[in-house]
């Protein structure tokens, strides 16, 4: 199996080398963009009582008076040392806060994507077996309707119905009800941490708080999944080898299994890109439901012009996206015989 390991190592190496410039480009772009906003972070930091001299001193201290490229170079050097800077709001180190908040975002996104896949893929497959039949038309329409809903609006309506009217869901404030104690932080995900502790109360509360956001997010994520699965399966079903298999009198079950094996690669690739794009969209849901995730923090930071936070947020998303793509492509490379 030495050859296999070598292949994997080479793949990862090449992928890292190719991704580096892209990540660099993203960081650079963000760096420049956020500084175009015309917000003056120094004024924000120093507060309303500061005078000109204090502002200048602060500016010099933060190296904000240097040319942009120099600032960027400094930033890159600091990143290399693991220092992602500090938030202007309260001086919290960005790296720490990311570690603190990212698990919440991951929790939301992973749960939603898993649910969306569990629901969406079978629906897409069934729709593909009878294209333009009634099931197909209806599922397409429903999934498009779900997809066309603005996420934040869906969240608001869900809150209205399930919290205000029905009193089923808890208040959309945070990840746990106020009276419930949080479990000890191991992974950062309340669900997982509560599970590890067998803290059922916390887990129940966390689940209750996640129910609505996950439901909304799943609706959003399911639509592309249904559409793409359908397209993939239709193409496979129309292929020469499926036709041949049918001509050979293979049972429907065998043909289905064959189709699934062939669908695995394109589906996986698609799931990867869905996951990365949904990661960014999660910010809005976090915002509405106050889930204290990374997206909510990043979103606020952009509006306020909190440079380091925005850079850290974008960097995290970009790195994570690259990682997902790499893992998916690696899996595909290993299972796909055509490589």
């Amino acid at each position: 199996m030495g050859g296999q390991t070598a292949r994997i190592a080479r793949f990862i190496g090449v992928r890292l080398a190719v991704s580096a410039p892209v990540i660099l480009g993203i960081v650079f772009l963000t760096f420049m963009l956020i500084r175009m906003g015309g917000q003056d972070p120094v004024a924000m930091l120093a507060g309303p009582m500061a005078d000109e001299a204090m502002l200048n001193a602060l500016r010099a201290q933060l190296q904000l008076d240097q040319p942009l490229l120099a600032q960027f170079a400094n930033y890159m050097v600091r990143i290399a040392h693991g220092d992602l800077g500090v938030s202007w709001q309260g001086g919290i180190p960005v790296l720490n806060e990311i570690r603190h908040l990212f698990p919440a975002t991951l929790e939301l996104v992973l749960l939603s994507v898993a649910l969306a896949a569990l629901i969406g893929i079978p629906i897409g497959m069934r729709a593909a077996t009878k294209p333009n039949g009634w099931f197909d038309q209806i599922s397409r329409f429903v999934s498009l309707a779900g997809f066309s809903m603005p996420t934040y609006w869906m969240g608001l309506m869900a809150i209205l119905v399930f919290f205000y009217i029905l009193r089923w869901a808890p208040a959309p404030m945070g990840r746990l009800s106020m009276e419930v104690a949080a479990p000890a932080v191991v992974t950062g995900s309340i669900l997982v941490d509560a599970l590890l502790e067998a803290n059922w109360r916390a887990m129940g509360s966390a689940l209750a708080h996640l129910a609505l956001p996950v439901a909304c997010f799943t609706m959003l994520a399911a639509a592309p999944m249904i559409k793409q699965t359908r397209a993939i399966v239709i193409e496979i079903m129309g292929s020469d080898y499926v036709r041949y298999a049918r001509a050979n009198g293979f049972s429907a079950a065998t043909v289905r299994r064959m189709a699934l094996r062939n669908a695995a690669t394109p589906l996986l690739t698609f799931l990867g890109s869905e996951l990365t794009s949904l990661l960014a969209a999660a910010a809005l849901i976090e915002y509405i439901f106050s889930l204290s995730g990374l997206g909510q923090w990043g979103l606020n930071a952009i509006l306020l012009g909190d440079f380091a936070v925005v850079q850290g947020y974008v960097l995290t998303l970009a790195l994570f996206s690259m990682a997902i793509f790499m893992v998916i492509d690696l899996i595909v490379m290993l299972i796909e015989p055509r490589n």
Partner: protein, 296 residues
């Protein structure tokens, strides 16, 4: 003379009717989407006639009234009629989506055409840009740029149009690549047509056909993202009757049960976006060569 005209008109109407039925059978999604989009377009155009009040007219004694005879969709936190605001919001939706769409086509079409046909450096740059965009959360990008370039409607339109262009360019490029390998293009080249002529006369019309299905989808996205940006608080200032901004205003009242200020603009938004998506979906169906004709 008049009798003849009447039968001609009748014949035309009958023909139209028959084709409409045929089209509906062919793709009900397309027709549904088209009707929805046209409906909203009509509302946008005739807003002045349909809306009972001016969208910015505020009734200080009628804050947060539930839907009634006077205020069909109720009144919002500033005492303005939600119904009228939703109607005028159509104008903003189209006013953003259409120019943004034009910018997107204006940039994306030549970009995709040249990149696909000539290849080389431009192509590489386009692909790398797409790579970056793929990993970069677009909404964050939009947010950052709009926040940076100023809170105005125009900057929002420009940003959305520009951000959409690479995606559109990629679709165009894919079509161009296919066409470039086709026999009739090769023949045109062999006959000595200069590159620009081949691109404009031979490739362009066919590439447009394939890329057309993308257009409604992109416009759907433009409407969505402009509303999202407005919801977050950039690009549009109150009291502009833009749907996203209206949802933002209405959001704070949802928890206390005053649902109408946020529901109706969101509903309108959803229906318009859905209309565009159905249109695009249906268009892809219709233009899909596999769907044409009868099996052998």
């Amino acid at each position: 003379m008049l009798a003849m005209d009447k039968t001609k008109a009748q014949a035309w109407a009958h023909g139209f009717y028959v084709h409409a039925i045929g089209l509906t059978r062919r793709s009900p999604t397309f027709v549904a989407g088209l009707c929805m989009v046209l409906f909203f377009l009509g509302v946008a155009i005739f807003a002045g006639v349909i809306a009972p009040y001016s969208p910015t007219e505020s009734f200080s004694y009628d804050i947060l009234r539930a839907p009634s005879d006077r205020f069909i969709f109720g009144s919002d936190g500033n005492g303005m009629d939600v119904f009228s605001r939703v109607i005028y919001g159509c104008r903003y939706a189209f006013g953003i989506a259409v120019p943004a769409g034009l910018i997107m086509v204006g940039i994306g079409l030549p970009l995709g055409l040249i990149a696909g046909y000539k290849g080389g450096l431009l192509d590489e740059v386009l692909l790398r840009t797409l790579d970056v965009l793929r990993a970069f959360p677009t909404i964050i990008l939009a947010l950052a740029v709009v926040a940076a370039t100023g809170q105005s409607l125009i900057s929002m339109v420009v940003v959305i149009g520009v951000l959409d262009s690479p995606i559109f360019a990629r679709v165009v490029r894919a079509e161009v690549l296919n066409l470039r390998a086709s026999t009739f293009v090769k023949a045109a080249v062999a006959m000595g047509n200069p590159a620009w002529r081949v691109m404009v006369v031979h490739i362009l019309p066919n590439a447009i056909l394939g890329a057309t299905a993308q257009l409604p989808m992109r416009m759907a996205w433009a409407v969505r993202i402009s509303a999202t940006l407005a919801f977050i608080g950039v690009g549009i200032q109150a009291p502009t009757p833009e749907w996203g901004a209206m949802i933002r205003q209405g959001a704070e009242y949802v928890i206390t049960g005053e649902w109408w200020a946020a529901l109706f603009p969101g509903l309108a938004l959803m229906l318009l976006v859905l209309g565009f998506n159905l249109l695009g979906d249906g268009l892809t169906d219709i233009l899909d060569p596999k769907r044409r004709g009868v099996g052998k």
